[in-house]
């Protein structure tokens, strides 16, 4: 029986690294406050009914039945898609340069699926009835079926399996050290002892998992785009570009969040030795390619709608460009186009500063959130084919509170993982030797 590889002296257990971090404690404290606010807001929604939100019936009610929650759900599904895609690609294409961010991407994926699932639940007036009936009656012909079965169950579960199996080796290393979390490390390790056979088996399982995950991801994420793109009676949504644009923007926002999280880990855990500028440059180039494609899709869609769109399409486009939604639209466009310019400059000058990439990533994520909102809402308030007047939708404080609570929950989940297990794979002795 082989024994577990000893932990390298430079690497500390996660709780030892973060135990001294005041920033981590502060962030977790703020997240707890945010979570409490979210719970209070949701309790208000549950007891007062959906009328306490800003959502109203489409058409006769002059509002939107899908609002901030659905926009948040789509954003989170996109992040999840990109997270697990990066993790799978690292394995399939043997992208060793990106290996240090592999687990960060996996964690992000799992957390984003959980938050996306919760965003659906809070959007339902009767959550329990909705959940039971979905599993009872959902039709395979409906894109919703694919959203729930393939997206939430499929890559939610697949991401969790991927994360769990990948964490076993590090948990086995940490389980050898006495401490408060030793029981957890033993549980996660599940008897892993890092023998050559186990490594080979893990590599083989991870490879086939990745092979299974990638096509699932493309189908599932496109299905989420089809929820909107196949609705022929809803101008603004009905478009062949919805699915590919959804997947591309998902990639942009997900890669951006991986960059932000990697920058935070680099700072909080002092891991500049592993999270090198080269890793960030790689991610920056990936984001540049995806962002370029998305901006192209956006331009094509705008030209089509303004040049040859139907009357209803023209109304929605006018609302976006010069009407009610113009401030959000132009801000989102700026948050996508300016980063594109900065990334192009970085590529030309070959200067990929981590600070710039982090700022760009924050901007593109704000832009992506705005775009998700604009995909969901305007077609409901300005896209009815029946002769209703223009509607309006403004998220209520309750909705902001719930979304804040969801974000806080995500931060707590990531923070808890960081405390329990390494977010960057521990290096084996021979790997440390190679790096030196």
């Amino acid at each position: 029986m082989a024994t577990t590889q000893p932990i390298h002296h430079r690497e500390l257990a996660p709780q030892e690294m973060l135990g001294r971090s005041r920033i981590w404690t502060l962030v977790m404290g703020l997240a707890v406050i945010g979570l409490v606010l979210g719970i209070v807001s949701y309790a208000r929604e549950l007891t007062g009914g959906m009328v306490v939100t800003g959502m109203r019936d489409v058409g006769i009610g002059g509002g939107a039945t899908w609002g901030l929650y659905v926009a948040f759900l789509i954003y989170m599904m996109g992040v999840s898609f990109a997270g697990i895609t990066i993790a799978a690609m690292i394995r399939l294409l043997k992208l060793e340069q990106l290996r240090p961010v592999g687990r960060i991407a996996e964690i992000l994926s799992v957390v984003a699926v959980v938050l996306g699932g919760l965003a659906i639940i809070v959007d339902l007036g009767q959550p329990l009835r909705g959940l039971v009936n979905l599993f009872r009656y959902a039709r395979p012909q409906s894109p919703f079926f694919g959203t729930f079965t393939l997206v939430l169950a499929g890559y939610g579960f697949a991401s969790l399996v991927y994360l769990y199996l990948g964490s076993r080796r590090d948990a086995a290393v940490l389980a050898e050290r006495p401490g408060r979390l030793q029981w957890l490390h033993r549980f996660v390790a599940s008897g892993y002892s890092d023998t050559p056979e186990e490594r080979e088996r893990h590599d083989r399982a991870s490879f086939w998992l990745a092979v299974g995950i990638v096509p699932l991801l493309v189908v599932a994420s496109s299905t989420l785009g089809f929820v909107f793109g196949l609705q022929i009676g809803r101008p603004g949504w009905f478009s062949a570009l919805q699915a590919p644009a959804f997947v591309t923007l998902a990639g942009v926002s997900g890669v951006g969040l991986v960059i932000v999280l990697a920058a935070l880990v680099r700072h909080a855990e002092h891991r500049s030795d592993v999270l090198t500028p080269a890793v960030f440059a790689w991610l920056g180039k990936l984001m540049l390619g995806l962002l370029f494609v998305y901006v192209y899709f956006m331009a094509v869609e705008l030209v089509t709608a303004t040049y040859a769109g139907s009357e209803a399409d023209a109304d929605i486009t006018a609302a976006l460009l010069t009407g009610t939604y113009a401030p959000i639209f132009w801000t989102s466009v700026a948050f996508l186009v300016v980063p594109l310019g900065l990334l192009v400059y970085a590529a030309l000058a070959k200067r990929w500063s981590i600070g710039m990439l982090t700022a760009v990533s924050v901007l593109v994520n704000l832009g992506a959130l705005g775009k998700r909102y604009l995909i969901v809402v305007p077609s409901q308030t300005h896209g009815t084919l029946l002769p209703y007047g223009e509607g309006s939708y403004t998220p209520a404080l309750v909705e902001y509170g719930v979304v804040l609570g969801l974000v806080a929950l995500g931060v707590l989940m990531i923070g808890a993982f960081m405390k329990a297990l390494p977010v960057i794979e521990l290096q084996r002795e021979e790997e440390v030797g190679q790096d030196a």
């Binding site: 029986m1 082989a2 577990t4 979905l134 599993f135 009872r136 009656y137 959902a138 039709r139 395979p140 012909q141 079926f145 729930f148 079965t149 393939l150 169950a153 499929g154 579960f157 697949a158 399996v161 769990y164 199996l165 076993r168 086995a172 389980a175 033993r186 390790a189 599940s190 008897g191 892993y192 002892s193 023998t195 056979e197 186990e198 088996r201 893990h202 083989r204 399982a205 991870s206 086939w208 998992l209 299974g212």
Partner: protein, 74 residues
Amino acid sequence: MRRTWTLTLIVSGLALMAISYFGLAAPWGADSVANSNPRMPFAPLVFVVGVMLLFGSAIVYELYGRAPRGGGEE
């Protein structure tokens, strides 16, 4: 046995997905209200179980026959 169990789970998962999708859920191509319900209630749940079995097979493949703590296999 490891391979047998893993393959069993993979095949079972795929079979459950296919059967629930094409055989138990609402029929394809039928758009009348009478055919809008699934042929078997909770067919979507069967599909989800199939997906979980499929990906759960990776856990079985890695953990099958493990020793309780830190030991080798079988």
